[in-house]
């Protein structure tokens, strides 16, 4: 991974980002934060609807139709800006425990987002009538929100990977 990160840092796009890092890095990070904000807003509203705490005058289907595309679109924006950050600072990103744990949780969160939307659109009446009111689905909604919150913390911890002690690959070198 270290070899790959070092190679990546010599590629033309990486060199460009590095040479202009005074504005490229903050700009990419800012767009990335806007993206995660749209994800958090969308996930919060869908989860509040499942919990019955908001959007109760709308069906679950209507709520998901409103926020699902924003959620999915923001995830693509996060992927694009995330790739740019890895390309721009490969060693800083890839040689950390925080980054890989974050990627694992992002995979879980994104998979849930896609599968949930697909399942709901296929069987929306069944979800309205049976699933949505079940305690397990409500608990799942809360867990999903916490996964994304933890993703944010892990994203920030990439800059402070030492918090993981010997789990941080940087500590072993």
């Amino acid at each position: 991974m270290k070899q790959f990160a070092l190679w990546l840092s010599t590629t033309a796009p990486s060199v460009f980002i590095q040479e202009h890092n005074a504005w490229t890095i903050p700009a990419i990070q800012s767009v990335h934060i806007v993206g995660i904000a749209l994800v958090m807003g969308s996930v919060l509203m869908i989860d509040l609807r499942i919990l019955g705490w908001a959007w109760v005058d709308q069906t679950l289907r209507q709520t998901v139709d409103r926020f699902g595309p924003w959620l999915t679109g923001s995830l693509w924006l996060l992927l694009a800006t995330g790739i740019l950050m890895v390309v721009g600072e490969p060693v800083r990103e890839l040689i950390t425990f925080s980054f890989w744990l974050k990627m694992a949780l992002v995979a879980v969160g994104a998979l849930v987002a896609v599968l949930f939307q697909r399942a709901l659109r296929r069987h929306d009446q069944h979800w309205e009538d049976h699933f949505a009111s079940q305690p397990s689905i409500k608990a799942f909604a809360i867990v999903t929100f916490l996964v994304w919150a933890f993703v944010i913390v892990l994203g920030r911890l990439i800059a402070y990977d030492y918090v993981w002690g010997s789990w941080s690959p940087a500590a072993r070198q």
Binding site: S30, S42, R156
Partner: protein, 195 residues
């Protein structure tokens, strides 16, 4: 007390010293700060896009605002609290940082923008509650809100690159990224993280 001694006093409080001395507290404060601001922007965007007629256009504005804005305020409280806690760890440096000042100005603009809304389009909300978009002034206020909050995010991120304790101790070239590396390996021993 003048500003300088107030800032100095803030930095010397037990709380500020505790946060500074911990390797974990400041990163966690940053993490929670980002969760909070993500929820602030994410929920405000829902309201602003409704005002602009770009999303949720068939839903009552008042119902949408009631469902959304209480979470905005709750998230803002979390963001402000974590922001204050980060500020006191290095108050004098943040206070003199241009991006910090710009961010405070933008937050004031955001507040005045809300006030303007309450005094104008907010007063006639019953007339356009079910309309797909707010009246022109309401739409303008929503557009300003989105731009100002993106500005808050950008200036906030810039503070991290320009106002860390490391940056204050040893000014480096303007295009260098800084890290708040209390007692950490020097750059070169490890990948140099920046805020």
């Amino acid at each position: 007390m003048d500003i300088a001694s107030t800032l100095d006093w803030l930095q010397q409080t037990g709380l500020a010293v505790q946060i500074r001395d911990s390797l974990f507290t400041f990163p966690l404060l940053e993490g929670v700060h980002v969760i909070g601001l993500a929820l602030v922007f994410g929920t405000i965007a829902i309201v602003d896009l409704r005002l602009l007629g770009m999303a949720s256009t068939s839903r009552s504005f008042q119902r949408l605002a009631a469902d959304t804005l209480k979470w905005t305020w709750a998230a803002f409280a979390v963001t402000a609290l974590t922001g204050v806690l980060m500020f006191i760890t290095n108050a004098a440096v943040y206070f003199h940082n241009a991006y910090f000042r710009a961010k405070v100005v933008l937050l004031v603009v955001a507040a005045l923008n809300v006030l303007l809304f309450e005094l104008t389009a907010g007063r006639t909300v019953k007339q356009w509650d079910r309309a797909p978009a707010a009246p022109p002034l309401g739409r303008a206020i929503a557009a300003v809100s989105l731009v100002v909050w993106v500005g808050v995010i950008v200036t906030g991120r810039m503070i991290g690159f320009t106002a860390t304790r490391a940056a204050a101790a040893a000014p480096a070239p303007v295009d260098t990224n800084f890290e708040d590396l209390l007692g950490l390996p020097a750059p070169g021993d490890a990948p140099t993280p920046e805020p």
